[in-house]
């Protein structure tokens, strides 16, 4: 079985400062991990994915995430926040074993001017 925990339901950062959105996962098998962003009235958009290749994954819009097996974490970071980054972010775990897709509860990112 797998699960995913997003440790913060809300995160607020000032524009131009770093962003850290935390995600911990649990999986009986080798996981695939994803981060999605959801802007109001828009469809979910894939930011990046980890599928057992490089542990540091670069995505769109300057986001990246690092897979740390020892910590069962896949935190999302961005060096400098932009106002347009304000949205809901979801961490997702799947495995090839059973094709189940498990979304976290989401973290709402607020950007302060």
């Amino acid at each position: 079985a797998q699960s995913v925990t997003q440790l913060d339901s809300h995160v607020s950062v000032s524009e131009g400062t770093p962003v850290l959105l935390r995600c911990n996962y649990s999986s009986s098998y080798s996981p695939s991990l994803f981060w999605y962003v959801q802007h109001p009235n828009k469809g979910l958009q894939l930011l990046l994915k980890y599928t057992s290749a490089a542990t540091l994954v670069k995505g769109i819009n300057g986001f990246e995430a690092e897979f740390k097996k020892s910590e069962t974490s896949f935190h999302l970071t961005k060096p400098s926040a932009h106002m347009s980054d304000a949205a809901e972010y979801f961490c997702v775990v799947t495995t090839n074993r059973d094709d189940k897709i498990i979304f976290g509860k989401g973290t709402r990112l607020h950007i302060l001017p």
Partner: protein, 116 residues
């Protein structure tokens, strides 16, 4: 280009009413998925179609939920005798791949259903 579209975008229903939610996938996409996203939660898988065949309906929460895709393109999610706990955003996604891993799915904007 055209993405996945869903209609209506908002639906208010009285408890006990039947509702039908429509999904227009990207043209030519063989796989279609429905998800339910309750307030403050992440999306949860409901059902999956490959062309017109419903290959997985393990996520449908009750027999009041029914989905169809009769011609392998447009899909309709029907909820009978709606209950307040059915209030959620219903997301549709499509993929050009059979099976369609998550990263290959394109999501629509969702239909927000509110049951009074």
């Amino acid at each position: 280009g055209a993405g996945v579209s869903q209609s209506p975008r908002y639906k208010v229903a009285k408890r006990g009413q039947d509702v039908a939610l429509r999904c227009d996938p990207i043209s030519g996409h063989v796989s279609l998925f429905w998800y339910q996203q309750a307030l403050g939660q992440g999306p949860e898988f409901l059902t999956y179609f490959q062309n017109e065949a419903q290959l997985d309906k393990s996520g449908l929460p009750s027999d009041r939920f029914f989905a169809e895709r009769p011609e392998g393109s447009v899909s309709t999610l029907k909820i009978q005798r709606t209950q307040q706990e059915d209030s959620a955003v219903y997301l549709c996604a499509s993929s050009s791949k059979r099976g369609g891993g998550l990263d290959e799915q394109f999501f629509g904007p969702g239909t927000r259903l509110t049951v009074l």
